[in-house]
């Protein structure tokens, strides 16, 4: 696995997965593709500016949108592409039935900014926003209303309990839907945005916030995030016989390193816990049937609103590039001063790669290879078919607490060799399909803060938000005891703290600052194509 030869004639890339009919026309295109051929675009955060949920007509704006920006399905490449997700409150405002709203998963119904959830996600504690959130608190969220569980208002004889009042956390901007537009160049994207804005304005749908969606690949075709590292290198590879295929129609094989059942990404399919991933339902109506919603497998008299849909987690993460490189520089300086004899190899760049766990081009740090990184694969891409236990159990190459290792520990947490496969399988039950892109201009000098707003619009797809996104954030990224470490969190996403870098004979511990701050976030429902048609018919 290590010494995979570099192919003499590099091919374009490994075969990518696609969905077989009919799922290809039922699923939004952004599930199967990151639209690499459309390097620019916009994310438009929409607010429905009407007061009460209407009985009829709440989907009219969506029908208008479909005329100017039809949501892309997954059956092939398009000249430009669009994706669409809804917050719970957005769906309510469109007039979706209360019972249907109740049929969604708990995290979606409660919203990302539910008090206890924010604590688990490392954003807010005891009424205060933490340092990993922008000054003054996040700008936007779904502003999901408090649910019935928030206050126990039920009267009972003999009840003298003090009622806890849950705080309703509100952001200045309310987002009801997120429209993602992908285009080939800036001018077209700008023109398209204007056209969309014009089409939505008569329906009282406002664009309340927008961010560019940039890939901006360098001359070698590598899309880098603002700190300079290749982004989106490792992705889960869904499989399901007869549904996930390669070009030509053969089943996409189960990838031994990154394979996940399709139900981890799409509702209505079997997931990693041997169950069909749950989705919302609507009562059987002619409109639902006409939109193409299938009958629900278990609920008699109901249609499946979830099949081939997903949940989309979105977090706007502001990056402070100068602070990152300054912090790396200071840490390197301190090491050089404290260890003049043995730290000649350590500089800001060396430390930055330890924070990430990969080099700038996305190759995994590796203790046994003389180059210090894993050789590229046969497609001349960073090798993603690797495990940790056998090669780098102690993290001498890729530190145990580095960003990539926390993001996906693979088999690295196995206590003994016989547990490797179990731990790899377990880790693959907590994968997310990332679809994020960066926003903001590339910094001219990474050492100097230019005061411009830049960062990553983190977007990921999963069907079980608790077991996937929240698990990754809480149990891996921000877990102070991840991989037997103590009192340190993810050096990139976490608050100011420490990072242990294993070395012989003695580990180094550096101090890292806060470089990434959340500026807004919410959980969205990413509907299937029939579900979009149904919502438009409301």
């Amino acid at each position: 696995m290590d010494q995979r030869p570099v192919s003499a004639a590099p091919q374009k890339g490994p075969p990518s997965w696609k969905l077989a009919p009919p799922h290809d026309t039922l699923t939004q295109g952004m599930v199967v593709s990151g639209f690499a051929t459309l390097p620019t675009g916009r994310s438009l955060f929409l607010q429905f500016c009407w007061d009460k949920a209407p009985k009829k007509g709440g989907g009219a704006w969506l029908a208008a949108l479909q005329a100017i920006a039809p949501i892309s399905d997954a059956d092939g490449r398009e000249a430009r592409a669009a994706g669409l997700g809804f917050t719970w409150e957005g769906l309510r405002k469109m007039g979706l039935n209360a019972n249907t709203l109740a049929s969604f998963d708990r995290p979606f119904k409660e919203g990302m900014f539910q008090e206890d959830r924010l604590r688990r996600l490392g954003d807010r504690r005891e009424g205060k926003w933490l340092g990993t959130v922008i000054e003054g608190g996040p700008k936007w969220s779904g502003n999901t209303p408090l649910d019935n569980a928030a206050v126990d208002s039920e009267a009972r004889a003999f009840d003298d309990e003090e009622k806890v009042v849950e705080e309703h956390i509100v952001t200045p901007i309310t987002v009801h839907a997120l429209l993602l537009l992908y285009e080939k160049d800036e001018e077209s994207a700008e023109a398209w945005c204007r056209a969309v804005g014009d089409a939505l304005a008569p329906h009282n749908v406002k664009i309340v916030h927008d961010l560019p969606l940039d890939l901006r690949p360098d001359e070698r075709g590598i899309a880098r995030e603002h700190f300079g590292f290749a982004d989106g290198v490792s992705q889960p590879a869904p499989f399901e016989p007869g549904v996930v295929t390669v070009k030509g129609g053969a089943d996409y094989p189960q990838d031994p390193w990154n394979g996940v059942p399709l139900g981890e990404v799409l509702m209505g399919h079997v997931n990693g816990h041997h169950e069909v991933a749950l989705g919302p339902v609507v009562i059987d109506t002619p409109e639902g049937r006409a939109a193409g919603l299938p009958a629900h497998a278990r609920g008699e008299g109901f249609l499946d609103l979830g099949l081939d849909g997903s949940y989309m987690v979105v977090r706007e993460l502001k990056q402070n590039v100068a602070a990152f490189w300054k912090s790396m520089g200071e840490a390197a300086e301190r090491i050089n001063k404290r260890d003049p004899e043995h730290s000649g190899h350590i500089d800001a760049h060396w430390l930055a790669t330890r924070v990430i766990g990969r080099d700038l081009d996305g190759n995994l740090l590796c203790p046994v290879n003389p180059t210090g990184v894993l050789p590229v694969d046969k497609y001349n891409q960073p090798d993603n078919d690797f495990l940790f236990y056998d090669r780098d159990r102690l993290g001498l190459g890729c530190p145990l607490g580095s960003h990539v290792r926390r993001g996906n520990p693979r088999d690295g947490l196995a206590p003994k060799p016989s547990d490797k496969q179990t731990l790899l399988d377990a880790a693959n039950n907590h994968r997310i399909l990332r679809r994020g892109r960066k926003y903001g201009p590339t910094i001219a000098d990474p050492q100097t803060d230019d005061g411009k707003d830049r960062g990553l619009l983190f977007i990921c797809l999963n069907t079980d938000i608790t077991r996937q996104f929240e698990f990754v954030q809480q149990t891996w990224m921000l877990n102070p005891n991840f991989a037997f470490l103590y009192d340190e969190t993810d050096p990139l996403l976490g608050p100011r703290g420490m990072l242990t870098i294993p070395e012989k004979p003695l580990r180094r511990i550096i101090e890292v600052d806060t470089f990434v701050q959340m500026a807004g976030g919410e959980y969205f429902f990413l509907p299937s194509m029939p579900a979009i048609r149904y919502l438009a018919s409301l």
Binding site: E115, E161, E275, R338, D419, F471, Q474
Partner: protein, 541 residues
Amino acid sequence: MRQTTLSVALEVKPESYDHLSSLLDRLRNRRSTDPSGGEGPFADFLTRVPALHFMSLSVFPGFDYDPLFVIEANFDGARGPFWAQLESAIGPDLRLMLRCCKRPLDNDGPLFDSIVAANARAPIAPYLERRALTPTVYHHGNRGMTRDRILAEHALFEATRVELRCANVDGPNPYRVLSPSQIHAKLRAALLPGFGWLDHSAPKRIPLADNIADWARLIGFVIAAVFALSIPGLILSLIMPTDRYFILLAVAFLGFAAMLGKIGVALPGTGVATRFSFLKLFFQQLLPLVLFVLGYLVIAVAIGTPISMLFTARSFDAAWHGMITWLLWGLACVPVTVAGIVFWLRVLERGDASQDAPPVDPKMLREMARREDWIPQNHMGSIVLIKPGILRMILIRAGHLGLGLVLRIVARQGYLGSMRTIHFAHWAMVNNKSRLMFFSNFDQTWESYLDDFIEKAHAGLTLAWCCGVGFPPTRFLVKDGASHGRQFKEWARHSMSVSRFWYSAYKNLTAEQIERNFRIAIGLRKRTLSDKDAALWINDL
């Protein structure tokens, strides 16, 4: 030193359920501003109950029974001193809580009256001791580590970090130019003044007597089980001619096997592929099994021969020979008895009603969420109804007893399968043994804890919990079951109550970190280490 895990479950007057809940909340609020407990005002708890590792006070709402107030405690040493310490710390609070409980209708009634009467001053410790339950299974993640030792070794760990970071703080770090053994020596020299106990040898975590007792209990259990399983054979071989007896065994075995082959497969939609295999387990355990059977023969012959001589007046040779033959004939029946029990079990399992969507009260869930994930540890308490029937009753009792004894041997390092995230966990039966209670003090989140079980230890967990009413469909006590991820999690949540008062004596330490501190301390207790040993030891620093 030995750790004790126990619980006291007391029925609550339904009218006092809410009041008791608020008493627990108030106790928590008074003790600490941090909802998880710990620092600040909790410090006095730390000093006044020095034996205590983890403790919870919770009240389970009544659906099938009246509400239940449960005190769960995990502490060092014997029960007596602990109850006395606890009473001195929160005695008046506990007395108020006990007043919310029902008067026991058995002989403990007068004792209860004496402690809950208006202006009662009688100590409550004797009552709690009388009502304490012994766990059917328990597990300790850091066995043999007393609370004070855990705290002391963590202070040592913190001191190593300070020393390594701050030595010669304005110039080059002296540790950076040393070999591993020199690092060890220098660090030890630097820490010794503050940690004099490094010069003493470490107390044994599992004393010899405990070790022998663990093994003796397990051996006793297996031998008793073998004897019990051979009883049908022992009886039949006495009343039937030998050839007919063996024909019966063969026919019965083949019959059970054939029927099991038919009904052994998973019911449609409930099967989950697993790496667990009975055959693999059988061959892995074949040698110990053979040894146990030989041990059984030796002991049974030693006991049986003189008895046989006494009653039949046979010579020693004849009695000895007759006894071993009889026992062997009895053993021949064990596979048939096992097959018969498994067949019976499988019939029951196929008829079991599992709950596909256990109802979870959103308000209760929110109350739980409000108290979870403040510190790296969390707590859960759950009560489930036990499935009816005599075979179930026997299997739960024998299964829990056996599982508990096995854990004392195989889980000494704290690992359950590949996971070491539990500090203290136990099962106990309540309400006249009709309900099964489970408590756990674990690391990380509830979700990750349950996922660990689903993904890494589903067989063991299914074995211990599949006797619960509504548990996901199970095959042969260990297969499928907890592998049904969401269904199992909802079932577990459904059975839980809010951990209203929960105390941890070392809230930032995971079970792994306690072991890491232990390894560091063990190394530092040694005056010298070879370069090779030191290099390994340094990985933990």
